[in-house]
């Protein structure tokens, strides 16, 4: 059987978090009533004209700098001409030959911990289209133009990715960078970040690319992975059955887990690009670029390196913590307040992340303040509670039961370190398991450790988990060996 290699390039559309639209003074708030944020310019009333939003340009430059890309000193808006009801002017104002962001390079982290470089072809500024609503208006569609004119950057990668996992890692990196920069909220569920994937397959070892298929509008990280895998399977099966892949645009249907051709785009279009005569070339001087560079925040890669260096974290932990800026910021407050970076890292990327995932919420909505979590960590370190009990306290804190010490106090969770009480507990457990005690004493040193472990569970259970495990161990050894 033939071995196939997957080739993926992504086109990512990112909505920029500007107050107003790219070419008009209408607002950009998400979820407004239909057509209440579409002004005369957005509706393309006759005679209206565009003027470029300064912040949209600035955001695009910030992105370019973060991608180690070249910023064009001169970029040109062009018109991409086609008819569609969500496109009021009959053309989309975009950039074609002279985009604002030139070639760049970005590192992506793969699940196995390796790092791969993906080349950025370019990124350009353009306007978003409106939305067609397909609820039944007597067999017609309704058009909402609130989104029309929202600024976008379209980020086009080279076909450098070789698996769905790599594509997801790349997309996550883009998401991470735009949210770090604060140029987008990155909300895939609201369409702030959308992805089209160009997918092809070729026999392993072949240099020529196969025929590519564009999969449109994939709106979650999970669907990116599923859609690509499904499409790769479709293409390889097709070829193995003697068929041929045709160049086309397909839509991913997550309910059926399949891709299907888009009917409306069947006909090859001729977009008739030409420089928009209502807009002039955008010229950015070096001083402006440098001034913007100076305002860039610490980016994920730099932060990861610093976390490894400053907090002694493993590269994996550092990567996990720096993927999203609010998590990294949260971690840093916990680490500083507790003085225990490694433990803080474990708690933030372990218990807290699991909880957020389970409750389907994000760190910004997390009810536990980082100082509170630091307080909990301190109580573990000073042996007031065990790590296991701490998880109970954590849940209570999440549920709003109050400060860590209050919870420990009212729930009576304080760790038992009183030697007298613990000796009695140990004696009781040993007396209850005479055979195991005999076994232990008859065994040689190499097996004793394992056999001693048998008693720890029952002892901790008898203490309702509150026994200090270190002291329990000391007493147990003394009794067994004594």
């Amino acid at each position: 059987m033939m071995l196939w290699e997957t080739v993926i390039g992504l086109e990512v559309h990112v909505q920029l978090s500007t107050q107003s639209k790219i070419f008009s003074g209408a607002g950009t708030e998400f979820g407004a009533a239909p057509n209440t944020q579409a002004c005369a310019v957005d509706l393309a009333l006759p005679g209206t004209l565009p003027v470029l939003n300064e912040q949209a340009l600035r955001f695009a430059i910030m992105f370019g700098l973060a991608m180690n890309a070249k910023i064009a000193e001169r970029s040109v808006f062009e018109r991409k001409n086609y008819f569609y009801p969500d496109l009021p002017k009959g053309y989309q104002t975009s950039q074609m030959d002279s985009p604002i962001v030139g070639p760049g390079l970005v590192d992506i982290e793969l699940p196995d911990g390796t790092v791969k470089q993906v080349r950025l072809h370019h990124a350009h500024l353009e306007e978003d289209a409106g939305k067609s609503l397909h609820e039944d208006f007597h067999g017609q569609s309704g058009i909402d133009l609130n989104r029309a004119g929202t600024p976008l950057i379209e980020i086009v990668s080279e076909p450098d990715m070789r698996s769905a996992e790599e594509a997801v890692a790349y997309l996550k990196k883009i998401h991470s960078i735009v949210t770090y920069l604060g140029i987008s909220d990155g909300e895939m569920s609201q369409g702030s970040l959308r992805c089209d994937a160009n997918v092809s397959v070729r026999p392993k070892g072949e240099e020529k690319y196969g025929t590519r298929v564009e999969i449109k509008n994939i709106n979650s990280f999970r669907f990116v992975e599923k859609a690509i895998k499904r499409e790769v399977l479709r293409q390889t099966e097709l070829i193995e059955d003697g068929g041929k892949v045709v160049m086309e645009t397909r839509l991913y249907d997550p309910d059926k887990d399949e891709t299907r051709p888009m009917r409306s785009k069947e006909e090859a279009n001729d977009y008739r690009y030409f420089p928009c005569p209502d807009l002039l070339p955008v010229v950015v001087d070096t001083a402006t670029i440098e001034q913007i560079r100076a305002t860039l925040p610490e980016l994920p890669d730099a932060k990861k390196a610093r976390f490894i260096e400053q907090y002694g974290l493993s590269p994996y932990d550092a990567a996990v913590l720096t993927m999203e800026r609010p998590i990294a910021d949260y971690f840093e407050v916990v680490a500083a307040a507790s003085g225990e970076p490694k433990l803080s890292a474990n708690w933030v990327s372990g218990e807290l992340a699991a909880k957020l995932n389970k409750e389907n919420t994000r760190i910004t909505n997390n009810p536990i303040q980082p100082e509170q979590l630091a307080g909990l960590i301190k109580r573990i370190v000073d042996n007031t509670i065990s790590g296991k009990i701490a998880k109970q306290v954590f849940d209570a804190m999440w549920d709003g039961e109050g400060h860590v010490d209050t919870i420990i106090e009212t729930r009576g969770l304080k760790q038992v370190s009183d030697t007298g009480a613990l000796e009695k507990l140990v004696d009781d457990v040993l007396a209850f398991h005479p055979e195991q005690v005999e076994q232990y004493r008859a065994a040689d040193d190499s097996k004793r450790k394992k056999l001693a472990g048998f008693f720890v569970g029952p002892i901790m259970k008898a203490s309702k988990g509150q026994a200090n495990p270190g002291i329990v161990n000391q007493i147990l050894m003394k009794k067994l060996n004594g």
């Binding site: 003027v51 009021p88 030409f274 005569p277």
Partner: protein
């Protein structure tokens, strides 16, 4: 016609402003006077698409009140007409197209706002070629405009309604727009003064686009002085128009009387020599040469110059203008405003039938030519090539203005032609703009001044200035009009019938 009547509409704007200030008559009286003239004469001329008497009287009263309290603007109470390409809030703005026959604009063009702020009265919206595409005003959905000097003839286009209304004194002055000669050519054919300003001097916001990189609004009036008064209001930077130029606006009236001593006038050899390709008639050449003598008498010196790429202007324009128009007119799709076909069976049907039924023949032709010129495989050969040739044409002018202050020549190769005479062949019609088009390609200002008659029909003298030299053009025009009276000639109007003759 009573003496009183004559005194009102025959006054220049400057004189009307003086009379209003001296309370010789009110703006309301002046406005009613023009409305009565429109009522009486426009059925024959068809220069207006929409007349707005209530709004006009309301504005006139407001102007009178402002004058009484000493808060009158620069054009307070002066009745003007707007070319129906400028969006006017609450008033139909049709662009002379069936496509926009039902379009009540929800906003004002910047130019309209400026006139409102200056207290001007808007009498109505003037007829034009559909979407400003034409040189005869025959492509209007509302029917052709007749030339007041000879109603068998066209008034020129595309601002033919404005030119006819000004010539027939159915308004004190009007606005026009000029993409390839649409202010100057009808001004010449109707015997009035029309100024096409430097590209970017007057805001395009709210002026329905034909070819964005060429379109420019400007004044059409009975004298250079009146054009200067309008320019003082119209010109200026607009933050809503990216191509608007950030540059101070001079008081255009302040230099009108400057001496022409030492003025260097260039005569492009390509613009003369009747009998060659240009189709320049001997009478027009004679009238223009006579006027140039007049300017020499005023102190100007004459020099022959060359604009070697002149013959490329028409082909260059007929790539760029249709290309831009094909894209600019895509917004007319029957979805958000304007004409929509009945019972579209699907989206494609909605678009293609609304656009087929809503646009006239010339507009559709230009959209098709422009779409072709931008389509894959042709965009470099046509559009890009034309943009390169455009620079060659501009460089001709840049070189010329190193040697001269003003370039002079005829505005049109021939006087007003008969209705229907050229409408069967677009290319013949396009050559009508042979002298005006290069100016738009270069983005320069130019003025057309009445300069005599040929075959009892008015002739225009075109003066082209360097960038932002509108003040110079108005100065030359004003001095010329002080020693000539061509601009004072008025056509004899008849309430009905066709017998309109030169006075």
């Amino acid at each position: 016609m009573s003496l009183h009547d004559r005194s009102l509409h025959e006054l220049t704007i400057a004189e009307q402003l003086q009379a209003l200030a001296a309370k010789k008559f009110s703006s309301e009286e002046l406005t009613l006077h023009y409305l009565a003239r429109i009522e009486k004469y426009d059925a024959q001329l068809n220069s207006y698409i929409t007349i707005t008497p209530e709004l006009a009287i309301e504005a006139a009263r407001a102007a009178d009140a402002a004058r009484a309290t000493g808060t009158a603007g620069a054009l307070a109470g002066i009745p003007l007409a707007q070319k129906d390409i400028f969006c006017t809030l609450g008033v139909r703005t049709s662009c002379a197209s069936k496509m926009l026959d039902n379009f009540i604009s929800p906003y004002n063009a910047t130019v309209v706002e400026k006139f409102n702020a200056a207290g001007a009265v808007c009498l109505g919206k003037t007829n034009m070629d559909e979407f400003a595409m034409g040189s005869s005003n025959e492509s209007s959905f509302y029917g052709p405009v007749k030339n007041p000097w000879n109603t068998d003839c066209v008034p020129g286009g595309s601002s033919g309604g404005s030119a006819a209304a000004v010539a027939a004194q159915l308004c004190a002055a009007a606005t026009g727009t000029d993409t390839g000669g649409s202010i100057r050519q009808p001004a010449a054919l109707c015997g009035i003064t029309g100024l096409k300003p430097t590209y970017g001097r007057v805001s395009r916001y709210g002026m329905i686009a034909f070819a964005s990189s060429l379109d420019q609004g400007g004044p059409m009036a009975r004298s250079a002085e009146d054009c200067a008064l309008l320019m003082n209001v119209m010109a200026g930077f607009d933050e809503r128009d990216s191509t608007s130029v950030q540059r101070a606006v001079p008081d255009y009236t302040s230099v009108l009387n400057n001496s022409l001593e030492g003025l260097r006038i260039g005569l492009p050899k390509e613009y003369f020599n009747s009998g060659t390709d240009s189709g320049l008639t001997p009478e027009i050449e004679r009238a223009v040469q006579t006027s140039i003598k007049e300017l020499e008498n005023l102190g100007a010196t004459i020099k022959e110059i060359s604009l070697p790429h002149t013959e490329l202007a028409v082909p260059c324009y007929y790539v760029i203008a249709p290309a831009e128009c094909s894209s600019n007119l895509s917004r007319f799709d029957g979805v958000r405003y304007g004409y929509r076909c009945t019972d579209p069976k699907d989206l494609f049907d909605l678009y293609s039938r609304s656009r087929d039924e809503g646009f006239g023949e010339e507009v559709k032709r230009r959209i098709l030519v422009g779409t072709y010129a931008l389509s894959a495989g042709f965009v470099d050969a046509y559009y890009r090539k034309a943009q390169q040739v455009r620079r060659l044409i501009q460089q001709d002018f840049v070189a010329a203005f190193n040697e001269v202050d003003v370039i002079a020549g005829p505005t049109t190769p021939s006087p007003a032609f008969k209705l229907g005479e050229k409408s069967s062949d677009p290319v013949t019609m396009y050559l009508e703009d042979i002298y005006t088009i290069a100016v738009n390609l270069a983005g320069l200002p130019a003025i057309s001044l009445p300069t005599g008659f040929a075959d009892n029909k008015p002739v225009g003298l075109q003066l082209i200035g360097n960038y932002f030299a509108e003040d110079k053009l108005l100065n030359v025009g004003h001095r010329f009009q002080q020693v000539t009276d061509w601009h004072r000639r008025t056509p004899a109007l008849h309430k009905s019938g066709t017998g309109v003759r030169a006075a």
